[in-house]
Each structure stands twice: as C-alpha cells, then as structure tokens.
C-alpha cells in the first residue's frame, strides 16, 4: 500500500529539514522525501493533503512503564501504545519493572509477542540489569539481548552496590549492550519525597537533595569510563549532572543523558498543596534549575527527552503526599511540553523535535526517528499551535495521573502513522 502526503511542512531534525513538501511511502518505508513538492506522488494509491500541517518523524521514547505483565490495572502494552500514538510517540522502550520483572529471555519474548498482537506502536523491551531488579546478581544480559532486549536498566531503583554495577557494566560493555541508569545515591535520597529545600522544610516533607543525583552521576560515569560501557544517564534533573556527563565524555566515556519532558515544564512549587500528581522521581526542582535544563536542551547537551511515563491508579495517588507513589502519566504530553519550549521558550521546532526523534533513535541504533529514504515510515501530522485543555478523564492511558491535568496546552497530534499505517486520527479529523 503506497501513500503520499503532500502540502505538509516537513520537519526532520536529522537532516535539518524544515520546508513545505511531500513524502511518499511504500511498503512501510519512506521512498521519497520531496521538499518543495506540493502535489501528490503519481504512483500513490492513497494521498493526503496535509493542508500545511507539520509532518515529523514519530517520536521515540526511551522510558515508558506499563503494568504488563502483572500490574495490568495500571496499564497494558495496548493501552500504553494507544496513549503513545495519540501523543505522537511511535516507538517505546518499556521498562522491566513489572511483575514478574523482565529479567530473562522468555519474558523479553513475551513482551515482544504481546506487543505484536496488541500494541499500536513499536515496543522495545528493556531488560533488567540485575535479577529481580534486586541489585544483587547480574541478569542474563547476553541472552536477553539476543531475544530483543534493547537496553538494560535497573529501572526506578538503581544498583546501590558499586561493585555489582561495575561488573554488570564491564560485562554488558563487552557485549556491546547499553546500560541505562538513573543517577541516584540512595543513601542520600532515601526517604525523600520532593525536592529538598525551603519548600520541603516548610511543608514538613523529607527532601531529595541534588547531591544524591550528583554523587550518583559521578559514580556511574567513573564506572562507565573504567569499563567502556555505553551509559544512558536516565532522567537527569539538574544542570550540574549534565556537567558531570560532559566531563566524563571529555575523558573518553560514552555517555548520553536524558531528561523527563515534565521537568522542563514544572518546578517544585507545583507540588503546591500536596498534589501527589506532581510527585515524581527525580522530583521537580527549583525554578532556576528548570530554566537551566531548558538552556542545556537548547545547547544540545541533553541527548534525549523521555516521557518517563509511569501510570499509577488512584489508590496509589489518593494518599498523603509522603505515602503516595512516585510517577506521572506522560505519553500524551511529551510533544505539547516540548512545543511549550518553542512557543514560550528559546527552542526552534527542529531543536524541540531532535531530542524526541532522531537522537534517541541514534542512541539505540534504530533506523526510525527521521524522514529518510528507506527509514520506517513512522510519522506524525501535527498542528503546533492548536490549543487544548488537558483533562485527565480524556487521556487514553489506563492510569491518568498527569501533572498536566487542568493545564492549557498548545500543539496537538492529529494523525499518527506507524510503518505507513494510520494508527491514530484525532477526533477533529475523522
């Protein structure tokens, strides 16, 4: 089935393209990217007049939690992918923190198979770095990699024992596997529930100090350098962490950094009256840090932006702040959060798209995330200016714990295609 989409504003960060033109898709792949062309391709069986909408690669999200297997009341691969494609995300890396933990090859295959039969987007399982995510014994990294695990991570609870992490890095590095780890010295962040500081003190909540992230980052980068393992520093929340990554890179380590889309949008004050939807880890930091992260993103120092999607049902969130679960549903708000940095911030559209398309794809060695001949035809059509009110009850995720609930956002995905097939159409079109 061939498809032509014309009269679109083509946005491709990988080739720095921002021009009106047309694309031609055949058998799931881009066959032609034609800047300047405003008419349909003559061989196309179907064609769409984009009417000037933006056409960009589908988003690639490196950090998504679902509840499948075992915690399906939170989210399944099917519901997560439905929410993802509505937010323009066409490739998702799903975390291993499920029940059971994804720590062997059968479970990796289970995720892949379930995704094939139920998911609207491309799903890539992340394997557990340690058995049961307990941080005690290395999981079968090689076998899982052969079965399709794309990265290895200990998920929300990074390995505390430096010796175990070092060996896991050395082993994974020798196989060419990539490790993703959130920088966190848990002895310091321990019982914390929000950003440490004046506000936490006044609210009587225990804080997560920035030092916990810095010390974690220093440890992880030193070990990555020593072992030669490729490390993705998961969800950095301060600018100094980015400096630590830069310093390690200058010494020859292969290090990437990611940040959660919501960390560019919220600061600690949004916790307000103990709003548990704003309880995330790493926590929303102070305003100066938020602005610093935006600057770092503008300079290209944050390699990828992730949704950090972490669905939590009401029973996990309708609790006193200290007892509520961490995590925010984020799949449908990544693009609007990034576009807010275009509308109200310093980024260009291409700068806002690069960390959610080609850069994460490159980190994983994936061919998508770009408008390029023979790349998978994963694409979105979006209206960057379309205003909408984010209402929890209209989100498609099974859990709707979004800190964006009640916020006015600008920019909406109208159509999403995976491998040339339309998987999402906004109700305003159909």
């Amino acid at each position: 089935m061939s498809l032509s989409i014309y009269n679109a504003r083509l946005l491709d960060p990988a080739s720095n393209l921002d021009e009106v033109g047309a694309i031609y898709v055949d058998r799931g792949k881009f066959k032609e990217i034609s800047a300047g062309q405003t008419t349909p391709h003559e061989d196309a069986k179907a064609s769409i007049d984009a009417g000037g909408l933006c056409l960009a690669p589908g988003l690639v999200d490196l950090r998504v939690k679902t509840g499948e297997p075992g915690i399906e009341q939170k989210e399944t691969l099917a519901t997560a992918s439905r929410s993802a494609v509505a937010g323009g995300i066409t490739s998702l890396v799903v975390m291993p923190d499920t029940k059971p933990v994804i720590d062997d090859m059968a479970l990796v295959r289970f995720i892949t198979e379930r995704a094939k039969s139920s998911a609207a987007a491309r799903i890539y399982p992340a394997g557990a770095l340690t058995t049961g995510l307990k941080g005690e014994a290395m999981a079968e990294i090689g076998l899982m990699a052969n079965s399709g695990a794309i990265i290895f991570t200990n998920g929300d609870l990074p390995v505390t024992n430096a010796s175990i992490l070092k060996r896991a890095m050395a082993y994974a590095g020798s196989l060419g596997a990539t490790i993703m780890s959130r920088p966190d010295e848990r002895a310091l962040s321990g019982s914390g529930v929000m950003n440490a500081g004046k506000l936490a003190g006044r609210m009587g909540l225990s804080g997560i100090p920035v030092e916990a992230e810095w010390i974690g980052a220093m440890r992880d980068t030193v070990l990555a350098e020593a072992t030669g393992c490729t490390l993705i520093m998961d969800q950095v929340s301060t600018t100094r962490t980015i400096e630590i990554a830069k310093a390690a890179r200058a010494r020859g380590a292969t290090i990437f950094t990611t940040a959660a889309a919501h960390s560019f949008f919220f600061n600690e004050l949004d916790v307000g009256d103990y709003l548990t939807y704003c309880k995330v880890n790493p926590p929303f930091r102070d305003e100066e840090t938020r602005l610093g992260l935006i600057d770092a993103l503008k300079r290209g120092e944050i390699d990828a932006v992730v949704s950090a999607h972490d669905p939590q049902p009401p029973e996990e969130k309708r609790l006193p702040f200290g007892e509520a679960a961490f995590g925010a549903a984020g799949l449908e708000t990544v693009l609007p959060a990034m576009l807010s940095l275009v509308h109200d911030g310093p980024l260009s559209l291409l700068e806002a798209l690069a960390p959610v398309t080609c850069r994460p794809a490159d980190m994983l060695g994936l061919p998508q995330g770009r408008l390029a001949e023979n790349a998978p035809a994963d694409l979105i059509l979006f209206d960057p200016g379309k205003p909408w009110l984010c209402e929890r009850e209209h989100l498609r995720s099974r859990s709707t714990n979004s800190p964006f609930d009640g916020r006015r956002l600008q920019g909406r995905v109208l159509r999403t295609f995976v491998g040339g097939e339309e998987v999402f159409t906004h109700e305003s079109i159909s």
Binding site: K198, G201, G204, L319, P320, F321, G322, E323
Partner: protein, 315 residues
Amino acid sequence: MTRAAYHYSFDHEHLLSIEGLSPLDITHILDLADRYAEATRAGIRPDPVLKGKVVVNLFFENSTRTMSSFEIAARRLGADVISMPVAASSVKKGETLIDTAMTLNAMKPDALIVRHSASGGPKLLSRKVDCAVINAGDGTHQHPTQGLLDTLTIRRAKGRIEGLKVVICGDIAHSRVARSTTQALHLMGAEVHLCAPRTLLPSGTETWGAASATTDFDKALKGADIVMMLRLQLERMDGAFLPSRREYFSFFGLTKDRLALAKPDATVMHPGPMNRGIEIESAIADGEQSVITEQVEMGVAVREAVLHLLAGGRT
C-alpha cells in the same frame, strides 16, 4: 453623623495550618480562648454551644495528651465526643485515612479532629469530608492548636506578643510545633529565633517567619523574653543526628546558668512531653519562670475556642 461600620467574621472552614490565618483571626481565637480559660478558672460552665454536635477524634498516631485535651474541650462545650485511636495497623496508613474519612463522613459528624503521621494528611482528608477538620498534628508539618496555645500562653504571661524576643530550641527539623508556633508568633509581631544543631536545622526557616536560625544557643538566649524548648526524640540522639545525649545537653540543654543569659523575667515553655535532664533541667521545668503547666491549661481553652468557631456556629 455616620458611624464607621466594622465587621469581622471568622470564615474558615477548617483549621489545617497557621498559614492562611490573619492576625485578626488569631486575636479573635485567643480572645475567645481567654474567656474560656477564665470561665474554667472561675468554675463557670460555659454555654453548651456544641450541644447536639458530634465531634470525632481521629488519631492515627498515639497521643494521650492532645487527644484528651480536645476531648475535654469538646465536652465542656456540650458536644458528644467519640475518640478513635486508629492504631497503626498492618493496613497501609493512607488507605485507612481516606477510607475511614469517607466512612465517618457518611455518619455526618460536625467536626473531625485528625492527627496523622503524614504531612498533609488532614488536608487530604478535608477534601473528602463535609464537616470541619481540625489538624491535631500532621507529620512534621503543622500543629496549629499548639501554635495558638503557645501564643495565648505568652500573651497572658507578658501581656503582649509584639516586640517580644522568642527563642525556640530543639529538633526544629522534625517539629510541627516549631513551624506552627513560629508562624503564629511571627504573625502577631514577635521576633522568633530558632536554635538547633546543624543537622536538625532545616533551610528556609525565614519562610516560616523566623528572624534567625542559629546553632549557638548561648548567643540566641541573650535578651530573650521567652525560651521554648522542644522535645528531642531520643532515637535521634544516638549518632544519627547527634553524637550523644550528653553532648546535646552540654550544648543545647536549658540549665540555670544558661537561662541567666536571657532576660531576668524570661518565661520558659515546653510543648511536652519533656525529656528532663536532656533538653531541660528539672529545676527549671518546675521553677518559677516555667509556664509549662499553663500551656496545657491554655491548650484546652484554645481548643474550646477553635471548636466553637468551626463547629458551633460563627460569632
């Protein structure tokens, strides 16, 4: 000739925090509490303004003192009181909180008095119920009636609040009393100085209204009108936050010599229960300058006033 109209009404639905109260609100509560205190001293039974009302004490944390104080206050005003110490069971505390709140709410009480180990717990509960919620202490956040009773005790001892130098010493970091009392006294014009070992002194105390925060108790005491000592949880003194009890007493214990650094007529306070010989010498706790038992007495009076205003029809 026209007369300037002045109208004040106490229009708070709940008492969850000192934050949100105005100096006028506090004065209003203290004036009413003062009248209740005098009535009790004179042996006069107050008007049963809570007659027919149901007040529920919901304590998720053990507290004999505060729970009895609220219970006596509510009974004096004629309320029917049910006290429910909800033991910290194997059930997850938060589930108990919301579920218990919904269940109790269906029974239509007129006021819920809540103590919970989580900061913000009573606030969460107040969103789910239709009656007045009074925070009787939440985690390390607030204990508003304690802040009010401290303020009343000081006003009675000194005849004023404005311009007084108050020193609060002890575990500031984990103290909801320090937060509420500092805010209340600051609102009423006192100058509050906080003092603690560095590990128990959080940043940002200026946002509570504190004039200073220091680790030098002796220096802080100079010229103090009021010295308030806070209870230090014994388990915090064994190496985690402090090296030892004797080291704490040596630097932060209130002794006779130390008290001499304050004004000669300085008043000594403690929200109780005390660790005698650790944060305060017995001789001082029981001495002439101490108003510690009056604090307990004012506790009942303040709680009568608060219950009256929130559950007994507005005046």
